[in-house]
């Protein structure tokens, strides 16, 4: 039997992996992928909580509606984000985090 705990553990692992990737990786594209993974982790947790929070015998749909919003917003974020990363690649010929260290004070 799969319980709420299982969902939360998997989602926690996804979130931790994503966070670790954001902190440790130097390639901006990979970092961006890890960020998307964090959003997926949140979605999984939301669906899990929703499934196990029954209202009149049915799952509570508030959290699931947020999942759809998250997916849509993530798509918009990817569109804008990739455009910015492509623009960066055009100027610097690199998507390494080392290439964005000009701003310092």
């Amino acid at each position: 039997m799969i319980t709420l705990g299982h969902y939360l553990v998997v989602s926690g692992m996804l979130f931790a992996l994503g966070l670790a990737g954001v902190i440790a990786r130097r390639n901006i594209l990979i970092v961006y992928m890890c960020l998307e993974m964090m959003l997926s982790a949140a979605n999984l947790a939301l669906v899990g909580f929703s499934r196990f929070h029954l209202v009149n015998g049915l799952p509570d749909y508030t959290a699931q509606s947020l999942v759809f919003f998250t997916i849509t917003v993530a798509a918009a974020e990817v569109a804008v984000g990739l455009a910015i990363i492509v623009a960066l690649f055009r100027t610097k010929q690199s998507v390494d985090a080392e290439s964005v260290t000009k701003l310092q004070g």
Partner: protein, 490 residues
């Protein structure tokens, strides 16, 4: 007609401007800019005249949209800052177009309108889903705005940094929302407050979710230790966008924080002690980490970025002081008051920077040397702005800080108060260092700087507002109290 039609109308105007620019490429940027400005001004007038109580909304919207005093105040605030930013963009246009593709500025006029409608929506949010969507509307538009001067490597770099850290904070925020939902079984702020007051609610789950939400929002308002992006992004972004980020984005973050904390710290909440302590620690850290590094900055734009961090710290400390009856303002009211004083002084500072830039000067403190000789009017306005940011008595900044300090003293938060005092003292040092540079007379260039009459008029109005609020803050205080008294009566 209700208030939400204004928001929808603004977003629509933004989209229309975008299309017009795409299909009529020969349209002048002045026409576009002035249309956007006229639209925002019209929206502000409409906001004052239309019915604004929650009952005027369609009933299906009422569960997630509210129109209380705070919401209306922040809606007006969003419109004013958008108006100023659009105007500043138009003023800086000849300089900005050197760094944009084809020398065009189209999105610079349509995106702020969409950001504004997102900020207005957020001010009314009643549940976490609405907050999330409105916050993302603002953030994603800001990604584009920050990286707008694409030919400038600095702007692009700032854009990438803002993108990564903004997306990170979004991830943390949504994950926090999931856990708060798990603990309370609801997304609405009222529901969360009610569930948290129930002792049966799982405390660790709620605490974990609330802490994650506060971290996510901490990124947006530039609270330490999530403030690393601020100096870089502020420095690299085009100056009008920096002003927008520093005032608009911060205010939007704080209205959400106010609402969220009203729920988390509601009477009897199981997590109120921990969240309260968390706020005090974060607030104290933020004022110090904003003010102390600012003392060593050579770029005025970076200096203003650090100052913006330390102001976020004062605002967080104001939020930590609940039930401050001393000024007839709740903690949310004090935050709103502080932000209202913060708007004119910050915009005036960035306006000065933008005008310097338009005259071909840099943004370092040494570029300000002898400004009083080259353009006494501009130097005077900058002095008013910086003195108010430092919190000199008789300026608006002083009253805001006074409220925060007295609130902290009333609650006996002496540790946080001493941090705030140290930060304010450091503030006096770095702001007055810049002012002194402006009034140096030795060995400086004396070629005069020219600024347009319109700039002078706007800067003059902002400076006068700063001084009036500094001497006579009662009217503003009254605007923010009236609704709260009504809320209590309900």
């Amino acid at each position: 007609m209700s208030v939400f039609t204004i928001e929808a109308g603004l977003a629509l105007l933004g989209l229309v401007l975008l299309l017009v620019e795409a299909f009529k490429p020969d349209i002048s940027r002045r026409t576009l800019g002035l249309t956007a400005i006229a639209g925002t001004a019209l929206a502000f007038v409409l906001l004052l005249v239309v019915r604004h109580d929650t009952a005027s909304l369609p009933s299906f919207m009422q569960p997630w949209h509210q129109l209380d005093t705070l919401a209306l105040f922040y809606k007006g605030f969003a419109l004013v800052i958008t108006l100023l930013v659009l105007w500043l963009t138009l003023e800086c246009a000849p300089y900005l177009t050197r760094f944009t593709v084809d020398g065009k500025l189209a999105e610079m006029f349509s995106l702020p309108l969409i950001v504004c409608s997102g900020m207005m929506w957020m001010a009314s949010a009643r549940d976490l889903v609405t907050v999330f969507v409105a916050l993302e509307l603002v953030t994603v538009s800001f990604y584009v705005l920050v990286a707008f001067a694409r030919k400038s490597a600095l702007s692009l770099e700032a854009g990438v940094k803002y993108l990564i850290l903004g997306a990170l904070s979004t991830g943390i925020l949504v994950y926090g929302i999931a856990w708060i939902y798990g603990a309370t079984g609801t997304m609405s702020f009222e529901g969360i407050a009610k569930a948290l007051a129930n002792p049966a609610t799982s405390k660790p789950t709620a605490l974990f979710g609330a802490a994650l939400i506060l971290c996510g929002l901490g990124f947006k308002v530039a609270a330490a230790p999530f403030h690393m992006w601020v100096p870089d992004v502020y420095q690299g972004a085009p100056t009008p966008v920096t002003a927008f980020l520093s005032v608009g984005s911060k205010a939007a973050g704080f209205v959400v924080l106010t609402r969220a904390l009203d729920a988390f710290l509601a009477t009897g909440s199981v997590i109120s002690t921990e969240i309260q302590a968390f706020l005090l620690v974060i607030g104290s850290l933020t004022v110090l980490l904003g003010s102390l590094p600012a003392m060593f900055q050579t770029s005025v734009k970076r200096l203003l970025a650090y100052s913006s961090i330390s102001h976020a710290g004062y605002l967080l400390l104001a939020l930590a002081c609940r039930e401050t009856a001393r000024f007839d303002l709740s903690s949310g009211g004090i935050v709103a008051f502080y932000l209202a004083t913060y708007l004119p002084m910050t915009v005036l500072g960035f306006l000065g920077l933008g005008l310097m830039r338009a005259n071909g000067l840099g943004e370092d403190i040494k570029d300000f040397t002898g400004l009083a000789k080259r353009n006494p009017t501009l130097a005077l306005f900058m002095t008013v702005s910086f003195a108010s940011l430092a919190g000199l008595p008789l300026t608006a900044g002083f009253i805001g800080k006074l409220f925060v300090f007295l609130g902290l003293a009333d609650h006996g938060y002496w540790g946080a108060l001493s941090c705030a005092v140290i930060a304010a003292a450091a503030g006096f040092y770095y702001y007055f260092k810049t002012i002194l540079a402006m009034y140096t007379t030795e060995g400086v260039e004396t070629t005069a700087l020219t600024i347009s009459t319109a700039s002078k008029a706007v800067a003059g109005v902002l400076a006068v507002i700063i001084l009036i609020l500094g001497v006579y803050p009662k009217p503003l205080q009254k605007v923010l109290t009236s609704g709260e008294a009504a809320a209590v009566a309900k």
